[in-house]
C-alpha cells in the first residue's frame, strides 16, 4: 500500500466512513452489464450449486441444483446457464465497425487495403469478487474439453460415458476467455465488484477485510446512525435467531453454518423423497432448496447493484473508451477463433503464448498507470509524492532559443511554483501531462527551499522561431510534468506460437476434446451428503 492510500484509510477511520481513493471512475461500466453471483458446492472442485444472474435488478434468473453430487443435475444447470449466457455473449458479435488499414506485401512491396471487423460493443460480466472470477475460470476449465453427444455423433466418435449438453463446452470456452481477459490490468469484460469498489474508495479497515463485499459496502455507504466500522462488523458477524448470517458470504462458498443448519437437512429430505420415488414430494423438496439458495443469493445480488449505483455516480475517466476498445478487440478475436473452428484453449499455454500474455499484462499495467495518472489528480499525486512528477502554477516564462542549428528554435524556460521534489538531475527528460500536444522538456534547476522548479520546453512548439500560440504555458497556468513517458513502449516482438523454439517446448500440440471419465470431470462419488 502506498502512503497516500494509508493516509486515506486513516482518514476513513477518523470519519467513520470510506473516503475517495479516486476522483473519477477508472473502469468502463456497460449500460446493461450482466450481473452474476455463483455459489459452489463446498468440498468439490468447480461444482456449481446455484447461480443468480441477469441484467434486470428486479428480476434475476435463479438456477439451482438440489443435489450437488448429482452430475446430471450439475450439467443441467450448466446447460441452463449456457442458454442464458450464450445468446447474450454471441449477440455482441453481429454489429461491427469496419476498419481499413494499408498493409505492405513483404515480398512484392505492393500495398493493399485490409479490412478488419471490430465489434461495436462487447459483453460485460460483473461478479462479487475475485473468488467468483476464479470459480468461473474453473467452470471453464472443467467444461471446455467436454464432448456433447451431438458433436460426438458429427465426428463419428463414441461420446464416452458422460456426454454433456450441447452448448456447455462452448460456454466453457467463453468463460475461459473472460477469466483470461480479467487478468489483463484495466480490462473490463469480467469485473469483480470488490476490486472495483476497492479501487475507488479507501475504507478504515485492511484490504483483506475489504474482500468481504458486505463489509466493504458498509464502509462506503453506512446506514444512517452507524459508523462504517459498526456496520461492517454487523455485516461480518450478525446472525439471526437461527444462527444464520444476516449478510451471507458473497460466495462462491456458502457459510458452513448455512450448510449444516439448513442446506444439508434439506438435501437429505430431497434424497429421501427421491428414494421413495415420490416425484411430487421430490419436486416440493427441490423447491425448498431453491428457496434456501435464493435467500442467501439475493442479499449479494442487491449489494452488487448497490455497488453499481455508487460507481455510476462517479464521472467516467477520459481514457475509458480507449481501454474499452482493447476489450472489444479481445471479444472480437475470440468470436473469430470460435467461428474459425479453432480448438478450445489448451490446459496450459505454450511458452510463447505464456510469454506473450505476460508481456501484454506488463504493457497494459504500464498503460493503465499512465492513463490513470493523466485522468485523475489523485493518481498523479502518487507519482508526485514518489518524485516522479511535478505540478504547480507557472510563475515565469522566459523566451530562449537553441541557436546551434541553421535557424534558431524556441526553447523557453518555464518556472513553476511547487513543493514537489522531482527525483532527477538537471538535464533529466520530462514529459508534459495535460498539455495541448505531447511535449518534451528537460529539468533545468530545482530550488526546494524556494519551492521553484525550472524546466526547458524542447518540442511541440511548431517549426518557426517563435512558438505556436498556446503551445507554451502562460504565467498563472497550472502545469504538470512527469519523469516517466506518457505512452507505454511496445515490448520486443515475440515469435508466433508455431515458431516456438524447441528450447521452450516447441510448437503447441493441439489438445482434442475428450470424454475420458477422469479428465477433466469425473463423477463425484456418491459418498457424502
Amino acid at each position: 500500500m502506498s502512503l497516500l492510500s494509508t493516509l486515506a484509510r486513516m482518514e476513513a477511520v477518523r470519519d467513520g466512513r470510506a473516503v475517495p481513493l479516486a476522483t473519477v471512475r477508472h473502469r468502463h461500466l456497460a449500460d446493461r452489464p450482466m450481473v452474476l453471483v455463483p455459489l459452489a458446492a463446498a468440498g468439490e472442485a468447480g461444482a456449481p450449486l446455484a447461480v443468480m444472474l441477469g441484467q434486470d435488478r428486479e428480476s434475476p434468473v435463479l438456477l439451482t441444483v438440489p443435489q450437488p453430487l448429482d452430475r446430471d443435475r450439475r450439467f443441467a444447470l450448466l446447460a441452463d446457464l449456457a442458454a442464458e449466457l450464450l445468446p447474450w455473449l454471441e449477440g455482441f458479435g453481429t454489429e461491427v465497425d469496419l476498419l481499413t488499414r494499408e498493409v505492405k506485401d513483404p515480398a512484392t512491396g505492393e500495398k493493399t487495403e485490409q479490412v478488419r471487423e471490430l465489434c461495436t460493443n462487447a459483453p460485460q460480466l460483473l461478479v462479487p469478487g475475485p473468488a467468483a472470477v476464479e470459480f468461473l475460470g474453473l467452470l471453464g476449465r472443467s467444461t471446455r474439453f467436454r464432448r456433447s453427444a451431438e458433436t460426438a455423433l458429427d465426428e463419428g466418435v463414441d461420446p464416452g460415458p458422460y456426454p454433456v449438453p450441447a452448448r456447455v463446452p462452448l460456454l466453457g470456452r467463453w468463460l475461459t476467455h473472460l477469466r483470461d481477459r480479467a487478468q489483463v490490468p484495466g480490462s473490463s469484460l469480467l469485473l469483480a465488484m470488490t476490486d472495483l469498489l476497492g479501487r475507488h474508495w479507501a475504507t478504515g479497515q485492511s484490504r483483506l477485510e475489504d474482500q468481504h463485499l458486505g463489509a466493504l459496502l458498509a464502509w462506503i455507504d453506512p446506514p444512517a446512525g452507524r459508523t462504517g466500522a459498526e456496520a461492517a462488523l454487523l455485516a461480518e458477524t450478525a446472525r439471526d435467531g437461527h444462527g444464520q448470517l444476516l449478510c451471507p458470504p458473497a460466495g462462491p462458498t456458502t457459510d458452513p453454518r448455512f450448510d449444516s443448519g439448513l442446506l444439508a437437512p434439506a438435501i437429505t429430505r430431497y434424497d429421501a423423497a427421491r428414494k421413495l420415488d415420490d416425484a411430487v414430494a421430490a419436486q416440493a423438496r427441490e423447491a425448498e432448496i431453491a428457496a434456501l439458495l435464493e435467500a442467501v443469493l439475493r442479499p449479494t445480488w442487491d449489494r452488487l447493484w448497490q455497488g453499481l449505483d455508487l460507481l455510476r455516480a462517479l464521472p467516467a475517466a477520459a481514457h475509458l473508451p480507449e481501454r474499452w476498445e482493447g476489450d472489444r478487440w479481445s471479444y472480437t478475436s475470440h468470436r473469430d477463433r470460435i467461428a474459425a473452428g479453432e480448438p478450445p484453449q489448451p490446459v496450459r499455454d505454450d511458452a510463447v503464448t505464456a510469454a506473450r500474455k505476460l508481456a501484454q499484462r506488463e504493457r497494459e499495467q504500464t498503460r493503465l498507470d499512465i492513463q490513470e495518472a493523466l485522468d485523475d489528480p489523485l493518481a498523479m499525486a502518487e507519482h508526485r509524492l514518489a518524485g516522479e512528477a511535478l505540478a504547480g502554477r507557472v510563475v515565469a516564462v522566459e523566451a530562449a532559443y537553441d541557436e546551434t542549428g541553421r535557424s534558431p528554435k524556441p526553447r523557453p524556460l518555464v518556472t513553476v511554483r511547487t513543493s514537489d521534489r522531482p527525483h532527477g538531475d538537471p538535464g533529466r527528460e520530462l514529459y508534459r501531462a495535460g498539455g495541448p500536444t505531447a511535449q518534451k522538456a528537460e529539468l533545468v534547476s530545482a530550488d526546494p527551499a524556494a519551492g521553484l522548479v525550472t524546466v526547458r520546453l524542447l518540442n511541440g512548439m511548431g517549426r518557426r522561431k517563435e512558438p505556436e500560440p498556446g503551445s507554451v504555458p502562460e504565467p498563472g497556468e497550472q502545469v504538470c510534468f512527469t519523469l516517466f513517458e506518457l505512452t507505454a513502449r511496445q515490448s520486443a516482438p515475440l515469435p508466433e506460437p508455431e515458431d516456438t523454439p524447441w528450447t521452450h517446448g516447441g510448437p503447441p500440440v493441439t489438445r482434442t476434446a475428450t470424454a475420458q471419465p477422469d479428465l477433466p470431470t469425473a463423477p463425484a462419488d456418491e459418498e457424502g451428503a
Binding site: 500500500m1 502512503l3 497516500l4 494509508t6 493516509l7 484509510r9 486513516m10 482518514e11 477511520v13 477518523r14 475517495p20 476522483t23 463446498a42 468440498g43 468439490e44 472442485a45 468447480g46 450437488p68 474453473l138 476449465r141 472443467s142 479497515q205 485492511s206 484490504r207 483483506l208 477485510e209 461480518e236 458477524t237 462458498t253 458452513p256 450448510d259 449444516s260 444439508a264 490446459v347 485523475d376 489528480p377 489523485l378 498523479m380 499525486a381 508526485r384 509524492l385 502554477r393 511554483r417 513543493s419 526546494p448 527551499a449 524556494a450 519551492g451 471419465p517 477422469d518 479428465l519 477433466p520 470431470t521 469425473a522 463423477p523 463425484a524 462419488d525 459418498e527 457424502g528 451428503a529
Partner: protein, 433 residues
C-alpha cells in the same frame, strides 16, 4: 486432515511420563483453571509460524486454553467452521486413498519418491485407537515403529498414529493421517487433503499449510526415532542423523484428488524449510516463562472468572495483531476490536507500521500530518523546507519529524488533488486548473 476439523473432542490431558508436573506446567495449568483444555495439535503448532511474535497466543496455546471457547466467552466468537459437505467429501476421499490395503497409496509413494519396484509384503500396524487413551496410543505407535525397524524389507503402514512432542514443557499430541515405514527402513509422513491438484498444480496457500503441518509430524517422528535409537535428537532439519535416528524422511507425501474427480494423485513435498521455521518458533515458545512473569498475580482463564476478569487477563497478555490474524487465530475478532479501540495503525494492514515510522495510532499520524499542513505555509516548500521541527514542536525525535514531514506532504497532495477534482466538477468545461 483431521486436524482441520474443529470441534472434535480434545484428547485427555496429557499424561507426562514424569511423576510430578514441572513448575512451569503447574503454572500453566493454574492459568487455565477449570476451563476446557485443548492440547496443542499440529494445526496450532503450524499456525505459530503465522504470527510467531504474539505472546498472547504463545501463552494461551502453551497453557492449553481452548481459544475457540475463550473467544466465545469474550463475546467475539471465532468465525471458523467447516461445511458438513466438505467434511464428508474429505472423509470419503481418505477412505478411497486407504482402500484395498493402500495399494494405490503405495504406488503413488513409489512413483513420487522414485522408489524401485518391489514385492515386499505390507503390514498394517495394530494401534490402540481409543481416543480416551492418548498415552496408550502414543505408546502403541512407538512400539509399532520399533517393530517395523526390526524387520527391514517390509512395508509397514501406521494409520493415524498418535505422536507426541514436548513443547515448552507442555505436550502436543499430533496425529498424521498415515506414517509409512518403507522397505528401505525410511519413514514417510503421508498427508491426505481434499483440495485438488489441478493440471499438476495446487493452491499454493493450501500446499503451504499442508507442508507446515507435515513438518511438525516429521519433527515429532525425529524425536521418537532418536528416543528409539537412544540418542539425542538432531535439531537441524538439514542434517540427517545416522541410523535409526535418521529414519524419518524430510520429504512428505501429499495426496490429493486429481483434477475435478476423486482419483488420488500425489506430490512429494520437501518440508525441511517449514521444519526449520517451526523448530525456531517452538524454541521461542520456551520463553513462555518470561511472558508469564509479567502477568499480575491471580490472572487466570478459568470458568470461575467474570467476563471483566477474563477480558483483563487476556488484555494482560501482549498481542501482536495484524489483519492476517482474522483467518489464522480464533481470537482474531477480539484482538481486532482491541486494536481498533486503541486506534492502532496495524488494523489497516500488515506493513502499514513500517510506512508510518514511529506513529502507532491513527490519531497520532493524522495529527502529525495536520500539524504540518495547517502550520502557516506548511504546504509550501518555501517554509516547510526550513526546519520541520518548528512546526512539530512536540515530536520527540528526527525519525518522527521525517515521517511527519512525509505524511504532511502526502496530506497536502491529497487535499490538493481532491480540491482540483472538485473545481473541475464544478466547472467541467475547460480547466480552472
Amino acid at each position: 486432515m483431521n486436524d482441520f476439523i474443529p470441534g472434535r473432542p480434545a484428547p485427555e490431558p496429557p499424561q507426562s511420563p514424569r511423576l510430578s508436573p514441572s513448575p512451569l506446567e503447574r503454572r500453566l495449568a493454574g492459568l487455565r483453571g477449570d476451563a476446557p483444555q485443548r492440547s496443542l495439535d499440529a494445526r496450532a503448532l503450524a499456525a505459530l509460524a503465522a504470527n510467531p511474535g504474539c505472546g498472547r497466543r504463545a501463552v494461551l496455546d502453551a497453557a492449553g486454553v481452548d481459544k475457540t471457547d475463550l473467544a466465545t466467552r469474550l463475546g467475539n466468537p471465532a468465525p471458523f467452521g467447516q461445511s458438513p459437505f466438505a467434511i464428508s467429501r474429505g472423509l470419503g476421499f481418505e477412505r478411497r486413498v486407504k482402500a484395498d490395503g493402500c495399494t494405490v497409496l503405495l504406488d503413488l509413494l513409489r512413483e513420487q519418491l522414485r522408489l524401485p519396484e518391489d514385492s515386499a509384503p505390507v503390514v498394517f500396524a495394530e494401534l490402540v485407537d481409543d481416543p480416551g487413551l492418548p498415552a496408550g496410543r502414543v505408546a502403541s505407535a512407538r512400539v509399532a515403529l520399533a517393530a517395523a525397524a526390526a524387520r527391514p524389507g517390509v512395508w509397514t503402514v501406521l494409520d493415524q498414529p498418535l505422536l507426541r512432542l514436548e513443547v515448552a514443557g507442555s505436550t502436543a499430541h499430533l496425529e498424521p493421517d498415515l506414517v509409512v515405514v518403507r522397505p528401505d527402513g525410511r519413514w514417510t509422513v503421508v498427508e491426505i487433503k481434499s483440495f485438488p491438484i489441478l493440471d499438476g498444480g495446487a493452491d499454493a496457500v493450501k500446499v503451504g499449510a499442508a507442508a507446515r503441518q507435515a513438518a511438525v509430524y516429521v519433527l515429532a517422528l525425529r524425536e521418537t526415532a532418536a528416543a528409539l535409537a537412544g540418542v539425542e535428537p538432531v535439531r537441524d532439519p538439514y542434517r540427517e542423523p545416522e541410523g535409526l535416528a535418521g529414519a524419518p524422511d524430510s520429504t512428505a507425501l501429499l495426496v490429493c484428488p486429481k483434477d475435478f474427480g476423486n482419483q488420488p494423485t500425489a506430490a512429494a513435498v520437501d518440508v525441511r524449510k517449514p521444519m526449520a521455521v517451526t523448530r525456531r518458533q517452538l524454541d521461542r515458545l520456551t520463553r513462555v516463562e518470561q511472558l508469564l512473569d509479567v502477568l499480575p498475580t491471580g490472572t487466570g482463564f478459568g470458568r470461575d472468572r467474570s467476563d471483566g476478569q477474563l477480558a483483563a487477563a487476556v488484555g494482560a497478555l501482549q498481542a501482536v495483531y495484524s489483519p492476517d490474524c482474522l483467518s489464522a487465530c480464533e481470537l482474531g475478532f477480539h484482538c481486532r476490536a482491541e486494536a481498533r479501540c486503541a486506534g492502532s495503525v496495524e488494523t489497516l494492514g500488515r506493513g502499514v507500521r513500517g510506512e508510518l515510522g514511529s506513529f502507532h495510532t491513527v490519531e497520532q499520524a493524522l495529527a502529525a500530518a495536520a500539524a504540518a499542513v495547517t502550520a502557516p505555509g506548511g504546504t509550501h516548500a518555501d517554509t516547510a523546507g526550513g526546519t520541520p521541527s518548528d512546526t512539530l514542536a512536540d515530536t520527540p525525535d528526527d525519525g518522527d519529524a521525517e515521517s511527519a514531514l512525509r505524511l504532511a506532504r502526502a496530506a497536502a497532495l491529497r487535499a490538493e488533488a481532491l480540491q482540483t477534482a472538485a473545481l473541475q466538477a464544478a466547472a467541467p468545461v475547460g480547466g480552472a486548473g
